[in-house]
Amino acid sequence: MAEASRRRIWLGRGIYAFLCAGIMFLHLLPMETMPRRWGSPDFVLLITLAWAARRPDHVPALLIATVFLLSDMLFHRPPGLWTALVLILTEVLRTRARSLRVVPFPLEWLGIAAGIVAITLAYRVVLSLTVVPQAPLGLTLTQMMLTILAYPLVALLSFLLFGVSRPAQGEIDSLGNRL
């Protein structure tokens, strides 16, 4: 019994890591060498947030830190800063996971949106405080908006494909622990 539960958690973690690696791989494909006017939604962030709000045990902090640090390195972002902000946000979500579960979906969406806005602003503020050259504001804003708009889609897909649902109140796993 304990074995089954643990296997499910590790399977969740594996799927998460695999998904993130896949998305990063798609981003890296050399198909777009023209500069764009708009930023596409940040799907790695969305998956991380959706899973942190719904199944916190599938996304341990260390895994999140590894994934985002790797993407910082690969995508030429200032290393560490974005990772730290995302980590803080997921920790906040993790502590609120139980209360996020009982509210209707629009409220959950609103909470996630507030989190994304907060870390995006914090990121830009820290970068301008440390005088790091920044991308145009329009690009950041469109990416933020699209990321927020894409959250329901990601939540739906991760529910349909990977069964990341919001556990009902009082739902228990095979061991009898509360989810």
Binding site: L29, M31, P79, G80, V126, P133
Partner: protein, 313 residues
């Protein structure tokens, strides 16, 4: 409610919170370290990319090929239209070709008269684009040539026609090219007929603006822009593009390199330009018989470095 709070406290134990805090501090420390000592962290970054990306290569090639196949197929649909365009273009090109041949002959004759020796050091290494930067905020690509092939930081990169960017970050088997369109790219250029110097400053658009132009009135859209070689950054006279007037009335550059599809890129082996620092030595002998007369010629020479005249041509 009471049970709820209990469960929550159980879940986020103080030890865990402490560990998370330490992790966040470490990450912020990494950011500060990067801000303070960027070259060292960037070297680590190049090392990581060098490990990670080439291991994806087996998967990248087919997927990219498939995507290109799809876009090629879309272009087949416009084949007739394209054919007509191409034929018209060919007509134009024939005229140009004639002109070019004549010019080439004339050039050869003049060069012969002048006894010009072309720079034999300007050779290149061609690399294949492995990956792009992966984010809309950075404009760079990764090449499959690296320190193993003798690539050095700062070397210029062209496609067949024009300048595309410069090497920034070299791993063992891969190197990163900072494209001209990136926000942190600054290249000294010369605008051809008027000979004015300017800085080409990338701003994440396909047509980067020209900064620090002394006399914008003497520049017309269509002027050729080449690298100026100022500061020993690049070899001079590499084609960069043509001046256009942007929608915001600024002078911008239409890049000669085809940024739509960067596939094969040339890394020019740019040799360190020989610098002439000792101005006096050119006029007076290096070891004059007595030290007194040396100061006078050095002063004269100082306000006009010989052999480094302005590029008026």
């Amino acid at each position: 409610m009471a049970r709820d709070r209990n469960a929550q406290e159980d879940f986020v134990s103080p030890v865990r919170r402490l560990l998370i805090g330490v992790l966040v501090l470490l990450l912020l420390g990494l950011f500060l370290l990067w801000r303070i000592d960027s070259p060292r962290v960037e070297r680590v970054r190049a090392e990581i990319i060098d490990r990670v990306v080439p291991s994806f290569e087996w998967a990248m090639a087919p997927v990219t090929g498939l995507a290109n196949l799809v876009s090629d197929f879309q272009s087949y649909q416009r084949l007739a239209e394209q054919n007509r365009d191409l034929r018209r273009e060919l007509q134009d090109m024939k005229a140009w070709r004639e002109a070019a041949l004549q010019l080439e002959q004339e050039n050869a004759v003049l060069r012969d008269l002048n006894n010009v020796r072309l720079d034999p050091e300007l050779t290149w290494v061609t690399g294949v684009v492995l990956a792009d930067s992966g984010s809309p905020f950075r404009q760079s690509v990764l090449l499959n040539v690296g320190a193993r092939d003798g690539i050095l930081d700062g070397w210029p990169v062209m496609d067949g026609i024009g300048l595309a960017g410069r090497i920034s970050g070299v791993g063992q088997d891969s190197s990163r090219v900072l494209l001209l369109t990136d926000t942190s790219s600054r290249i000294p250029v010369t605008i051809q007929p008027s000979g004015q110097r300017a800085i080409l400053a990338g701003d994440n658009t396909i047509a980067p603006p020209l900064d620090f132009i002394e006399d914008p009135d003497s520049i017309r859209p269509g002027d050729r822009v080449v690298t100026s070689g100022d500061g020993g950054l690049f070899p001079a006279d590499i084609l960069v593009g043509q001046v256009v007037r942007g929608t915001d009335r600024r002078l911008r550059l239409r890049l000669a390199a085809d940024f739509e599809r960067l596939e094969f890129l040339r890394v020019l082996r740019s040799q360190q330009a020989e610098r002439i620092d000792a101005t006096g030595a050119l006029i007076a002998p290096v070891t004059p018989p007595d030290p007194e007369p040396q100061s006078a010629p050095a002063e004269i020479a100082e306000d006009r470095p010989v052999g480094d005249g302005p590029g008026d041509g």
